[in-house]
C-alpha cells in the first residue's frame, strides 16, 4: 500500500494521523482532501440577507402546527370511514355459523389499531417509526388467513372482485388526505408506504367483518393483494406531488 492509499484509508475511516497529514501536505493529489484544506466557498452575504428576510416573513405568518394534531385528525377520519363502511356492508362474516369469533375479534382490533394508531406513527417525525410499520406487510395477511374460516364461497372472479374493489374505493379518501399531509414533509418512500398501508386498512377492516369467504387464497388475492398494491402505488403518486417542506 503506497502513502496515497494509506492516507485515503485513514481519511475514510476517521483515523487521520500526523504521518498521513505530513504526506498529504506534500502530495498534489492528496492535499485537496485534507480536512483543513476546506477552501471555503465564500458565502454570498447579500443572498443570505434575502433568505433571512423571507424566512422571517414566513415565521411571522405561519403559526407552529403540532404534527400530532394532523395525525390525530387523520386517525379519526380513517377510523370513522372504517366503521362507516363496516356498518354499511354489514357483519355477515361475524354472524356466519363457521366464524372463529375470538380470532375475528382479535384481528379486527389489530386492524382498527392499524387504521388509527398506525396512521399516527406513520406521520410521526423521524424515520424509525414509519419504517417499523412496514412489518404490517407480512403480518396483516398472515393474521387475515389465520382468522379465516377456511370456507371458499366466492368461487368466481365476479363474486370475488367486489372485495378488491371495496379495499380500493374505501381507501380513496383517506389516501388522498394522507398524501396531502405527506406533502408537508420530506419525500420518504417508507413513510409513504406506511401511511398508505394504514389508509388502505380501512377497507380491510370492513371486509374482515363482512366477507364470508374465509379461504386463504381469497383473503390473500382479493383482500391483502389490493391492500399492498395500493401502498406501492402511493409511492409514484407521492413522488409526482410537489413537496411543501423537507422536514423529516
Amino acid at each position: 500500500m503506497n502513502e496515497c492509499d494509506a492516507f485515503l484509508d485513514a481519511l475514510a475511516s476517521d483515523r487521520l494521523e500526523a504521518a498521513h497529514r505530513t504526506h498529504a501536505r506534500t502530495c498534489p493529489v492528496c492535499a485537496p482532501l485534507l480536512p483543513e484544506a476546506s477552501g471555503a466557498v465564500s458565502p454570498a452575504a447579500l443572498s443570505l440577507d434575502e433568505v433571512h428576510r423571507r424566512a422571517l416573513q414566513a415565521l411571522r405568518t405561519t403559526p407552529a402546527r403540532p404534527w400530532a394534531r394532523d395525525a390525530a385528525m387523520l386517525a379519526l377520519l380513517q377510523g370513522a370511514i372504517a366503521l362507516g363502511v363496516t356498518v354499511t356492508l354489514g357483519t355477515g362474516n361475524w354472524n356466519s355459523p363457521g366464524a372463529h369469533r375470538t380470532a375475528l375479534a382479535l384481528v379486527g382490533a389489530a386492524l382498527l389499531g392499524t387504521v388509527t394508531l398506525g396512521s399516527i406513527l406513520a406521520l410521526a417525525p423521524g424515520r424509525r417509526r414509519p419504517r417499523a410499520l412496514l412489518w404490517l406487510v407480512p403480518v396483516v395477511p398472515l393474521l387475515l388467513v389465520l382468522s379465516g374460516n377456511g370456507v371458499h364461497t366466492a368461487t368466481t372472479m365476479g363474486a370475488a372482485l367486489p372485495c378488491a374493489l371495496t379495499v380500493v374505493l374505501t381507501a380513496v379518501v383517506p389516501l388522498a388526505v394522507g398524501l396531502a399531509l405527506l406533502r408537508g414533509m420530506a419525500l420518504d418512500a417508507a413513510r409513504t408506504v406506511a401511511l398508505a398501508l394504514c389508509a388502505a386498512a380501512t377497507g380491510l377492516f370492513a371486509l374482515h367483518w363482512h366477507c364470508r369467504d374465509g379461504s386463504g387464497a381469497h383473503l390473500l388475492a382479493y383482500h391483502a393483494l389490493p391492500w399492498v398494491a395500493l401502498a406501492l402505488l402511493a409511492i409514484p403518486i407521492r413522488r409526482a406531488l410537489p413537496t411543501r417542506s423537507h422536514v423529516p
Binding site: G39, V41, P43, H246
Partner: protein, 169 residues
C-alpha cells in the same frame, strides 16, 4: 430552539446567523449554483414545519437533514449546475483558509460535481462538515456501514479525478 418553535424571531435569527453561511457553502458543493434556492427552501421548511421538531434533539443534524432532503429533491427535478465563479461572488467574511491555494477548492469542487449524489453527500458531510459516520447515518437514514462504503468509494473516485485533473492542468 424551543423559543424558535414558539415563533420568537430573535431566536430564529440567532440560529440563522450561526448556521446559514456554512450551510450555504455545503449546499454549493451539493447542488452547485442552485445553492441559494435550496438554502431558501431549507429555511422555509424548518420555519413552516417547526412543529415537527422533536424537543431536545440537536438542531444542527436536524437542519442538515432538511438541507440534504431539499438538495435531493432539487437534484431529482433539475440537473447539477456549475457554481458561480468565485470572482462573481461578493466579498464575505470567510474564515482564512489554512492552505491558501486559490485553485484548490475549485479543483475539489469540480471533482465533487462528478461524483454520484450519494457519494457526494457522504463526503461533503464528512470531509467539509465534520460529521462522524454515525451522525451521517442518522442524518441520511441509512446504516453506518452504508455511509462508510459510500465515503470510501467517493474518496477513491475523488482521488482518481483529482489526479487526472492535476495531470491535465
Amino acid at each position: 430552539m424551543d423559543r424558535f418553535v414558539q415563533g420568537e424571531e430573535q431566536a430564529f435569527s440567532t440560529l440563522f446567523t450561526r448556521h446559514a453561511g456554512r450551510l450555504q457553502a455545503t449546499l454549493r458543493r451539493m447542488v452547485g449554483a442552485a445553492a441559494d434556492d435550496v438554502l431558501q427552501t431549507t429555511f422555509l421548511s424548518i420555519v413552516r414545519s417547526r412543529g415537527r421538531y422533536e424537543r431536545g434533539a440537536p438542531f444542527r443534524p436536524w437542519l442538515y437533514t432538511v438541507a440534504v432532503n431539499a438538495a435531493r429533491d432539487h437534484l431529482r427535478r433539475n440537473r447539477w449546475e456549475e457554481p458561480h465563479a468565485a470572482e462573481d461572488l461578493p466579498e464575505a467574511p470567510a474564515e482564512p483558509a489554512p492552505l491558501p491555494d486559490p485553485g484548490l477548492s475549485r479543483t475539489v469542487e469540480a471533482a465533487l460535481a462528478q461524483l454520484p449524489g450519494a457519494q457526494r453527500e457522504a463526503i461533503v458531510l464528512h470531509r467539509f462538515e465534520g460529521f462522524s459516520f454515525r451522525e451521517i447515518a442518522d442524518l441520511l437514514g441509512v446504516t453506518e456501514t452504508a455511509v462508510k462504503v459510500r465515503a470510501h468509494r467517493g474518496y477513491e473516485r475523488l482521488r482518481v479525478l483529482l489526479a487526472s485533473q492535476r495531470g491535465t492542468a
